[in-house]
């Protein structure tokens, strides 16, 4: 399913040609096709048009409000039209989008905005029935309302692009010459947002922010001035800037991004400041981990990322010191190192403007992720007291709950499928709607595994899928979040899959490992689990006569062992 280049169809009612080069710049690679100019409805309705062949992965729909909703166009020029006519036309537009959505992986719709300044009716614009601004707001809300049940359709805020371009958002000359409705800067901003949405959807979003402390999170050098004299919060403008930056970081943490510290300091001094300074916004338990010492930051970062079971490609590194940034950029090119301003007043807006945290959904796992790492830190502290792994595992009181894929856990299932790299048999990437469609086939099975122990809930961290075909069962997906690797959960997943096929009419279970640069842990596990291996070293076979026992330290709870009622994708979506 994963292709290196995403095919993108661009549908619009103004000239969008200038957007193309900006979309093609930088990762991820995109191949753009432009639909015939100003034929939005025809293009959305007629899939026999050449622009639909080959079928694009992504559709971008960027329309002008006065054209997509002609009644609004009338109102814009002072003609009396009813609100309900406008709403009816918005609904017609969204119906067109709803019917193409299941055919592609991702649909991005630009919200409606006027790229030029229009005061409408001036001081009475908001209260008069013919007001321009409230009409646009209502249209966008209606658009949102109608599209929000479609899991692969997202509305991008075009007002943001227009605001970034300021006065140059619209050039009347370009409109007159070639129906170009937007200025160059608008196209640049739009391309960045579109690319961020694509990267986020296909699991390339960043997961961890690694931060320096001195003059990055607070003003001053704690080892020199002492925590009491750090500049943070209070009435001092520099302190206020650092507090605002920390609030921006805390917001990201609440949205599921992990925070970590990589700082050259004495650990005890730095932690004391974090715990004791009354104006600190972020506290010790807001950080998933830290490396506070005098070692090289690149080494520290690698070490930390390994501890958190992440890949370097999911890391953003923030440091006020240009030399440290250069060092990371040079030694760890996978890490994203944004250019950082010198003025602390700009820190908060710089992090808010980074377009690397886009995600197609926020799951329950995201919002409690840091808590899980904090619990993990406690587990490790306990582990030191045990001489054998087995003894330690017994004390964890691990509990695995398995359930079939359903509407409620679908977003998390898709998220795991797209984000898991290391323990992943085939690294098959699919959008929510693709995954759902796949799961609805009568010979396809998807199980999700939720893990908890006495320290806390790891959340849903494992996924296995089976396909029964011609007397054999195939494991199509077998993936586990690295956070729970090595605790018997992977064995529990195999136990579930093998026990399930043993009572059905198949002779063997087959797993075909597809190697990537990152997923060796999965092959290592299967090789050590008693599978037979075919001539090809990447095919693992389990003869069905053989049982695969549940590890003794694990309690397995099956919510529904039978397949849940399969509902069709269309029924529940339209």
């Amino acid at each position: 399913m994963k292709t290196d280049t995403y095919r993108c169809l661009l549908i619009g009612d103004s000239t969008l040609n200038p957007l193309i080069p900006f979309l093609q710049e930088g990762p991820p690679p995109i191949e753009v096709t432009l639909a015939p100019f100003d034929q939005v409805s025809q293009v959305l309705l007629d899939h026999s048009l050449p622009c639909w062949n080959p079928l694009p992965d992504i559709v971008v729909i960027w329309t002008r409000p006065e054209r997509a909703v002609p009644a609004f166009g009338k109102r814009l020029y002072g003609i009396d039209v009813k609100d309900r006519t406008i709403i009816k036309e918005v609904n017609e537009f969204t119906a067109l989008i709803a019917q193409i959505a299941p055919n592609v992986r991702l649909v991005l719709v630009a919200s409606w905005a006027l790229p030029y300044l229009n005061r409408g009716l001036g001081m009475i614009d908001f209260r008069h029935p013919m007001g321009i601004t409230p009409s646009l707001m209502r249209m966008n809300l209606q658009l949102t309302e109608k599209l929000k049940s479609l899991p692969n359709v997202f509305i991008l805020n075009s007002q943001y692009w227009i605001a970034s371009a300021g006065e140059n958002a619209h050039d009347p000359k370009m409109w007159a010459l070639g129906k170009i409705s937007f200025g160059r800067k608008v196209f640049i901003e739009a391309a960045l947002d579109i690319k961020a949405a694509i990267a986020g959807t296909f699991g390339q979003g960043k997961k961890l922010i690694a931060l320096d402390l001195d003059n990055t999170m607070w003003g001053g050098i704690v080892g020199e001035v002492g925590w009491e004299n750090l500049s943070i919060g209070g009435t001092d403008p520099i302190g206020e800037s650092f507090a605002e930056f920390q609030r921006a970081l805390l917001t990201l943490k609440r949205w599921g991004i992990l925070l970590a510290i990589v700082s050259k300091n004495e650990e005890s001094t730095a932690l004391e400041a974090i715990n004791k300074h009354p104006e600190m916004v972020l506290r010790r338990d807001d950080f998933a981990g830290w490396r506070i010492n005098w070692n090289d930051k690149a080494e520290n970062l690698v070490d930390l990322v390994t501890e958190l079971n992440l890949g370097l490609q999911s890391v953003v590194f923030i440091d006020d010191h240009p030399a440290e940034r250069a060092r990371i950029k040079e030694t760890l090119p996978e890490v994203f190192v944004p250019d950082w301003p010198e003025d602390p007043a700009l820190f908060a807006q710089t992090i808010r403007r980074l377009r690397c945290f886009d995600m197609p959904a926020i799951t329950k796992e995201d919002s409690v992720r840091t808590q899980q790492y904090v619990a993990e830190r406690r587990r490790r502290e306990i582990k030191k007291n045990f001489s054998s792994i087995e003894d330690w595992l017994k004390t964890l009181q691990l509990r695995v709950t398995v359930e079939c894929i359903n509407r409620a856990n679908l977003p998390r299932a898709a998220q795991m499928l797209n984000k898991t790299n290391q323990f992943n048999l085939v690294t098959r990437r699919m959008s929510e709607s693709e995954l759902w469609q796949w799961s609805q086939h009568k010979n396809h099975y998807i199980w999700l595994f939720r893990v908890s122990d006495r320290f806390g809930d790891y959340g849903t961290t494992g996924l296995a899928s089976l396909r029964i075909e011609a007397g054999s069962a195939y494991i199509d997906d077998f993936l586990l979040s690295c956070r729970v690797m090595g605790r018997g959960v992977e064995q529990t997943m195999l136990h579930k899959a093998i026990s399930y096929v043993r009572v059905s009419d198949v002779s063997r279970l087959i797993g075909r490992y597809i190697p990537t640069s990152k997923n060796k842990p999965c092959a290592d596990f299967l090789s050590g689990s008693g599978f037979q291996q075919d001539n090809e070293p990447t095919t693992y076979i389990w003869p069905i006569e053989k049982d695969f026992p549940l590890p003794s330290h694990i309690e397995l709870i099956e919510i529904d062992s039978e397949k849940v009622n399969k509902e069709s994708y269309e029924e529940s979506h339209i």
Binding site: T15, N17, P18, L177, G178
Partner: protein, 86 residues
């Protein structure tokens, strides 16, 4: 042939924009290069070129300037009219 000297920086910048926009080698860009000589120089790319030049030189063309710019010489003439030393 009359001898003309160009402000090297501005001319280099313009050549770079033309070569990037139409995906042609830098050496092909000469003052004599005309729209009909370049495959990709269609009416849409012409507007893209206009936008790129405006952004690079921080100027705003007038509507009537745009059709004047059908060859590199013409672009330079219009740029001088809008105050660019080229």
């Amino acid at each position: 042939m009359k001898k003309v000297t160009y402000n090297t920086y501005a001319y280099e910048r313009l050549s770079e924009i033309i070569s990037t926009t139409f995906q042609i080698p830098r050496e092909r860009v000469t003052p004599e290069l005309r729209q009909e000589d370049v495959e990709r120089w269609d009416s849409f790319q012409h507007l893209t070129l206009t936008m790129e030049i405006e952004a690079a030189f921080n100027i705003t063309f007038q509507t009537e300037d745009v059709p004047e710019m059908r060859d590199v010489e013409g672009i330079m003439r219009v740029l001088r009219m809008r105050g660019v030393d080229i």
